[in-house]
Structure formats: C-alpha cells, structure tokens
Amino acid sequence: MKEADLMLKHPLAKYLRQERMPHIWCEGCGNGILLNSFLEGLDELKQNLDRIVVVSGIGCIGRAAGYINVDSFHTTHGRAIPFATGVKLANPNLKVVVISGDGDLFAIGGNHFIHAARRNVDIKVICANNFNYGMTGGQYGPTTPLGSWTTTTPYGNIEHPFNLVHLAAASGAVYVARWTTLQVRRLKNSIKKALQKEGFSLVEVISPCPEIFDRYNKLGTAVDVMKWFKLISQVKHGYDPAKAEVAKNKIIVGEFVDIEKPSYGRLLREMTANVQDKLKGEK
C-alpha cells in the first residue's frame, strides 16, 4: 500500500489536517505525544467536531492549533486564555480547549491564567511543560528548575520555578492534573475528564525537549529522558499540590484537584436573566 493511503488509514487521520503533516516538531519531542493523546481523547468521547474550538498561543506547541482539523485560533503571545474566554462567553455551546506551552501560559500570560482560574471560566487548558523557551533557542523561563543550564543561564539557573499545579489549585481551578508524556493512557483519560467537566481545568504535561533543554542539561536522547520519567514519576492522586514540586529525583503525577464549582459563564447567564426579568417588571 502507498504511504499516502496508509496515512489516511490511521485511526486519527480525520482529526488532522493531512496537508500540514508531517509536523515541524523535533524527533522525540513530547508535543506530538500530547497531540496524539488529545485526539485519542476526542475520538473516544465521540465529540461533535463542530462544537470544539482549539486555541493556542506562541511556542512550539502553538502549532497544534494548525494541525487539528477543528476550528482553531493561533493567537498572540500569552493571550490564548483571553481569546478562549471570549470564544466561550460569546458561544456557551462550544467546548474551548487551550493547548499552549509553559512560557506562553505562565510567563507573559501568567496573569490571564490566574484570573481565568479565579473566575472559573469554562475552558480546558492543556499545558506542555518543557522547562524552557524551546522555539526561541532555549532561554530560561518561569518553569526552569533551579540549577539547570539553558542558553541564558550558562552557570545554572538561580531562580525558583513555578509549581504549576499548585498555582492552578490555589487560583481556583476545578480540575488539576499532571502527567508526563510517558503516561499516555492516563493523560488521555485526564484530558477526557477535563473535557467533560464544567469549569477551569489544567492538565500539565511534562514533556521532553531533546534538542535544547535535555541537550544543555546532558539528559541524553529522548528515549533516555522518557526512561528517566519512568524511573522518577510517582502516581499520587489527591496529593497536596503544594508539595508536588518538580524535582530532579521526583515528579509527583496524578489528579490533584477534582471539585465542583459554578462556572463564570453560568453565573453570568443567570445574572443577565435575573436583571432582565427585573427590568421587565419595572416597565
């Protein structure tokens, strides 16, 4: 069988824009695995693709919006969550997913993230965390672990990193999970769960960056990094997110928060209906 025909026979082929394949990500990059898990989740949920919107910001993973065959936005740097909030409030029937990186969501877009989580806007955030700014050549960012080498920290990083799950949980997200790219099945299940929940959800995906971060830190090839994930990740559901820091010898993964809370969109619609009723009564 010809290669092109085989490509179309892939079970996820209908979710991809085939004319844009193959994607530009490096060999061994975790972004492809994240995309794969997300599409598998969509496939298993049998979602109506006309009701899904994918928004992404700037960064390597920002290309994902262009590869998925649904309505998608590739927004300006750090502004994926404001765009997604606008989409969700304008049309509450849509399921809005933000797929973006740690630099986009937590550096330039940090304030948008915490306030969207505080308001509990009904959007799902999937964050690919590769510990640095991969697309621009490997500068250090807000998630770079203490003591790591990057192009802008040639003597080791002296800044303490964000603990993303703790940040999201403290800001008020209703569903917070963290997985590495090795735990593909659990990641897919988490994405499915987040898609079905009402409210602000964060799924953090710890991803290898073999060409830049892993090379500067001498972690070996992508397979070595995945083996390292296997060695040091511990699954602990319901663990205190404050203690779940990413360390060199331990990555706590699992579902940290799973609560119910009315979303911003629902409260907004209720408020609008109440006020309109009142105004009618006054007339």
Partner: protein, 98 residues
C-alpha cells in the same frame, strides 16, 4: 503466548488470540525510538534502511507476538505507526458472531 499454562482455559478451543497487523508509515518516522523502546512485547526493531528524512524507521520482527495493546500508536509523536486487528482466518470467536 505464555509457555506453560497452569490449566487450559475452558474456551481455549473456541477463542484464539487476535492477530495484529502493524502498519508503519516509514517516511513520516523521525526515528525517536519510543515505539521500539516501550513495546511491552519487543515486537519492533530499528531497521537498517533509511527513509526520506534520513532516519531509521522501526521494522516488525515478530508480528505474531503483538498483543494489540496499541501503545506504539498512542506514544508515536508522528502518527507514523498504528495497529489493526487482522480480519479473517485467525479469529474463530469473531467468525461465529458474523
């Protein structure tokens, strides 16, 4: 297949293990090696051939030992490998249903 069974399953005559067909889109492969490394049955192996990108794609060594877990499909970042069940003579249970 396990080498030794403690006792024969009651439906051993009726059902047979599903046979897998592993499809590899060689020119999409970037040679990361995840499928080869993390296959629980060690069905795949790096091939000697180079593809269009100049990488060594995986090749199937023993298709009959594939357990159809689909982990290679799930972990491939390039959408370059997938497993389907072989239809036809292999699966007695399925034929009965049809």
């Amino acid at each position: 297949m396990p080498q030794k069974l403690w006792r024969e399953p009651l439906d051993a005559q009726k059902t047979k293990l599903p046979k897998a067909e592993i499809c590899i889109i060689t020119d999409l492969c970037k040679g990361c090696g995840f499928c080869i490394e993390f296959c629980p049955k060690n069905v795949l192996e790096q091939s000697e051939q180079l593809n269009k990108k100049g990488k060594h794609p995986p090749e199937v060594t023993d298709e009959s030992s594939c357990a159809l877990c689909g982990f290679c499909t799930a972990i491939c970042p390039e959408f370059a490998i997938f497993v389907v069940e072989k239809k036809g003579e292999n699966n007695v249970g399925n034929e009965e249903k049809e």
